[in-house]
Symmetry: C2
């Protein structure tokens, strides 16, 4: 119902052609701006200036600002998927996959994939108390991600690689907490040590539930 990555859906109505390229460029710029100034602070005028287009020309790609915000959210989700989720799938062991996800996540913060930090961390807090389609979309993606991570823990438990006592929900809650704390700390305090702190916390948490005691180092 919500996956439309295959047929290359038209911009918003019945368009098909080269506008898709322009649209992608707009979204790329928009996602960067939104990570810094927020999804609401993102403005059609500023976005047009930044991309060198006219307000109306840009606006025509999206039916409304709200649709733009949703499109940006989906775009950011695709970036996150390519950058963090997909590479981790190459690992075979589910616990290794989980480790790869959290590591990739922290790296994605460290390398400033979005200049304002974690797009979803920022947008989630911004739209947390604003009901509407944008919040719904953010919820959807975050649920998706949480489920994915919880599934990995569950699988690891079934395969005997994670302790049977490990609580997937609790563990993922804490891992997400550590990553987002790094985001916060790096953004507000400009403190690069945050990454080290997050990594150490993550490693400790994962080490606690792992059955093969690779407590080396």
């Amino acid at each position: 119902m919500m996956l439309e990555t295959q047929t290359l859906k038209p911009t918003h109505d019945g368009r098909r052609l080269k506008g898709r390229r322009t649209r992608e460029e707009i979204l790329s710029t928009a996602a960067c701006m939104a990570s810094q100034e927020g999804l609401e602070g993102l403005t059609i005028g500023k976005l047009a200036r930044r991309t060198g287009m006219s307000k109306s020309g840009l606006f025509a790609h999206f039916g409304s600002k709200e649709d733009l915000q949703i499109a940006v959210t989906d775009y950011a989700a695709s970036i996150f998927r390519e950058r963090v989720i997909k590479p981790a799938l190459h690992e075979d062991d589910p616990l290794a996959q989980l480790t790869a996800v959290t590591d990739g996540w922290v790296s994605y913060l460290e390398e400033r994939v979005f200049p304002g930090g974690c797009f979803f961390g920022n947008a989630s807090l911004e739209f947390g108390s604003r009901p509407g389609p944008v919040r719904d979309r953010l919820r959807y993606w975050m649920r998706q991600l949480t489920r994915h991570m919880e599934d990995l823990v569950e699988k690891a438990r079934c395969q005997g690689r994670a302790s049977p006592k490990a609580d997937p929900v609790q563990l993922v809650f804490e891992l997400h907490a550590l990553v987002q704390e790094a985001n916060y700390s790096f953004q507000l305090m400009d403190d690069k040590k945050a990454f080290q702190l997050a990594r150490r916390g993550i490693r400790a948490r994962l080490g606690q539930i792992s059955t093969q005691d690779l407590e080396n180092r």
Copy 2:
């Protein structure tokens, strides 16, 4: 240089009288609004409507929107201090104080002291990548809070109540992470279980470093 809680500094220039009461009411409303719509989304017009004042009358209490944002931040800090920090000081043992702070913090989220969640969590992410006096103020308060908590860990260590291996920075990083994750999860997902998850994580972290094994329950 930055503490002005004593002499009841005038509104912003040379004012003295009953305007202070109005100003407080404005700030109270403003803090609630800002926690939901953000410090930038906070608008003079909407704030005036909500308080039943005229735009210009309200505006006169602050020299500019930026000054309003700073004033709101300071006001929120005072609420947080009264609500979370001060009550915890009644505990005698530093580790008990730390526990009281984190417990109070989670309760302050649970009881929706600010309807949009943790004022500072939200504002910090919003202004993380926006240099200026507002971000500086947020940094100042968050630094203050972090220092306070780290000091408590340090004291506990000196008194032998916390393990000498306990790293104050790491521990406070993780505690803050758990609290903020509860904020995120409750705001975006509307999930009350977040508080339980946060509390469990916090208790586990504190239990790990406590020397008196009160692992009861």
